[in-house]
């Protein structure tokens, strides 16, 4: 493996989103902070969350992780679909890069963007709201996995989608509902039984719950179970993506 080829593809992906920071970094930070402002004001005191934790405190980690998830997904998927539609993907496909290098570079750049957006939301929010840091290690681990899973999903969607319409469908019918219905705005403990059980099928629920555990030392589910499920999901998704890339699915006809 030639690491410089991999590094260059990663660098190119990072440079791409850095060229449009207003759209890729600042806009999602502002949007997420608006969610915090509106939902924090509207639902404060109306939703039961963890004991000893105010609603606004509860909301911040959820929104940070939602921003991480949505932006990690958006990076790889939009880069791939734009390259495919404009045709310049050919320059990557002509290069002596392995399917593994392709995968790592796209996924890592998407993770970085997701984490930067999350960090931005966190820094602005914590300027106004005090948050504890019960388990920083767990917090970082869940931040990383919470970014990696949607980043890889973004690569899958970017490879699969042949037009913008298909990608928008993937984003609006899979990613947005999964991220909104993952306990960002509420604790699943208060949900009716059906929705409570359904939430456990949502991988993003584990990312958000584990991430909150990192802050508050408490969560809806055992953090190690969440970690195991996230890691398993990541492994499964990565295997599927690598198989798609190795066989040239929708990339090399």
């Amino acid at each position: 493996m030639k690491p410089y080829g991999l590094y260059t593809l990663f660098y190119k992906e990072v440079l791409r989103f850095c060229k449009v920071l207003l759209q890729t970094l600042f806009a999602p930070i502002v949007t997420t902070l608006l969610y915090l402002l509106v939902f924090g004001q509207a639902l404060s005191g109306r939703v039961d969350v963890f004991p000893g934790v105010s609603y606004i405190e509860f909301l911040v980690p959820g929104l940070v992780m939602m921003a991480v998830i949505q932006n990690a997904f958006a990076n790889g998927s939009s880069s791939l679909i734009q390259s495919r539609i404009s045709g310049n993907l050919v320059f990557i496909l002509l290069a002596p890069l392995s399917h593994f290098e392709f995968f790592i570079a796209f996924a890592a750049a998407a993770v970085l963007r997701g984490l930067l957006v999350g960090l931005g939301v966190y820094l602005v929010a914590t300027a106004f709201i005090d948050l504890p840091l019960a388990h920083p290690g767990m917090l970082l681990l869940f931040a990383l996995l919470g970014a990696a899973v949607p980043a890889v999903l973004g690569v899958v969607a970017g490879i699969w989608a042949l037009k913008f319409d298909q990608l928008a469908g993937f984003q609006n019918f899979v990613i947005v509902p999964l991220s909104f219905l993952s306990g960002v705005f509420y604790s699943i403990q208060g949900l009716p039984d059906f929705w409570y059980r359904l939430s456990h099928l949502n991988p993003f629920f584990y990312a958000i719950d584990g991430f909150r555990y990192g802050f508050f030392g408490t969560g809806d589910t055992d953090p190690w179970v969440s970690l195991g499920i996230m890691a398993g999901f990541m492994l499964l998704l990565s295997s599927v993506t690598l198989l798609m890339l190795k066989t040239g699915y929708r990339l090399r006809d």
């Binding site: 410089y4 791409r16 449009v20 045709g87 310049n88 990557i92 290069a95 002596p96 006809d253």
Partner: protein, 306 residues
């Protein structure tokens, strides 16, 4: 010494369409090779397979002896491909594009060569311009620079001058000739047959997925295809029809100008002139046009079952 490109018994199917039907060909190192064929003949499919952009099941393809599937890294390092469509990444400048492309091939410090390419392709003053700001011709030259940025020994140009104006086409030809003179193997596909005739040493003609000719340009031109005879006559009365033996060869009759298509080996110009003289025609001017590559191309690709 291994060939620059070796294609052995290559088949490619797209569902029911048999796009390549057992193509065999070898491009020798250092030669200027032309790949011609009508639209949909399979040229781009063949090139895409060589470049690793299209998968295949049957056959084998090698670049400088490296299998394009099993040893794809080495094969791709030796190959530079200029795709047919003008495509570009709108996020980057010309220099960034070339540095990035260079990096994909593992080349960390390649600025000297990048500057040389920019100068040779008349892009130096646009090096820091965004790709969106370039004209179509400039974008195409950037694509050529991208294909050459890792100094490949084998360069494939898929219709490099399509949509390029005459002046720029000449400049591109000069650059491609220079590349060839420096020892690179050049494979050119083009719709401009005069371009292939002017540049290529050997030419393969592919039609409906089959190789119908592969020979030196000289041998292809000497393949016994006809020549055109244009005559200006004076006659007492306007010539209403040509003598019967010439009727099947007539391509045009316009007052005292006549155009005949002759078979190179079997038709004698003297016999044609005698036949016309016997009808009272006096020959004022004779113009003979030898077959060019276009005639050969049309002859080899017409009338084959579709």
């Amino acid at each position: 010494m291994s060939d620059a490109i070796t294609v052995s018994r290559l088949h490619k199917r797209y569902g029911p369409v048999h796009a390549l039907k057992g193509v065999d060909l070898a491009v020798r190192q250092g030669e200027f090779f032309g790949l011609l064929g009508p639209n949909g003949a399979g040229k781009s499919t063949l090139i895409n397979i060589v470049a690793g952009l299209t998968r295949f099941r049957d056959g084998a393809v090698r670049v400088l002896g490296h299998d394009v599937v099993r040893d794809y890294r080495r094969a791709r390092r030796h190959l530079g491909v200029v795709p047919q469509e003008v495509v570009f990444d709108p996020f980057f400048t010309v220099r960034e594009v070339l540095r990035i492309q260079s990096g994909y091939f593992g080349l960390r410090r390649n600025d000297a060569w990048i500057e040389e390419l920019l100068a040779a392709l008349h892009l130096a003053d646009k090096a820091d311009a965004n790709m969106r700001e370039l004209s179509g011709g400039m974008k195409r030259r950037v694509m050529i620079a991208q294909a050459l940025v890792h100094k490949p020994g084998v360069v494939v140009l898929d219709e490099p001058t399509a949509g390029v104006d005459v002046e720029q086409r000449k400049s591109l030809w000069a650059f491609i000739r220079r590349l060839h003179a420096e020892g690179n193997t050049i494979v050119l596909t083009t719709h401009y047959l005069e371009e292939a005739e002017a540049l290529c040493e050997r030419i393969a003609i592919i039609d409906r997925g089959e190789l119908v000719a592969l020979d030196t340009k000289q041998r292809l031109l000497a393949r016994g295809i006809g020549r055109t005879l244009r005559l200006t006559l004076t006659t007492e009365h306007p010539l209403g029809a040509v003598p019967a033996p010439l009727a099947s060869k007539l391509r045009g009759l316009n007052g005292n100008r006549i155009e005949l298509q002759l078979e190179k080996d079997s038709d004698s110009i003297i016999a044609v002139l005698d036949a016309l003289r016997s009808q009272g025609a006096a020959i004022v001017d004779v113009e003979i046009e030898e077959a060019d590559l276009e005639d050969v191309f049309v002859e080899l690709t017409r009338g084959r079952p579709r």
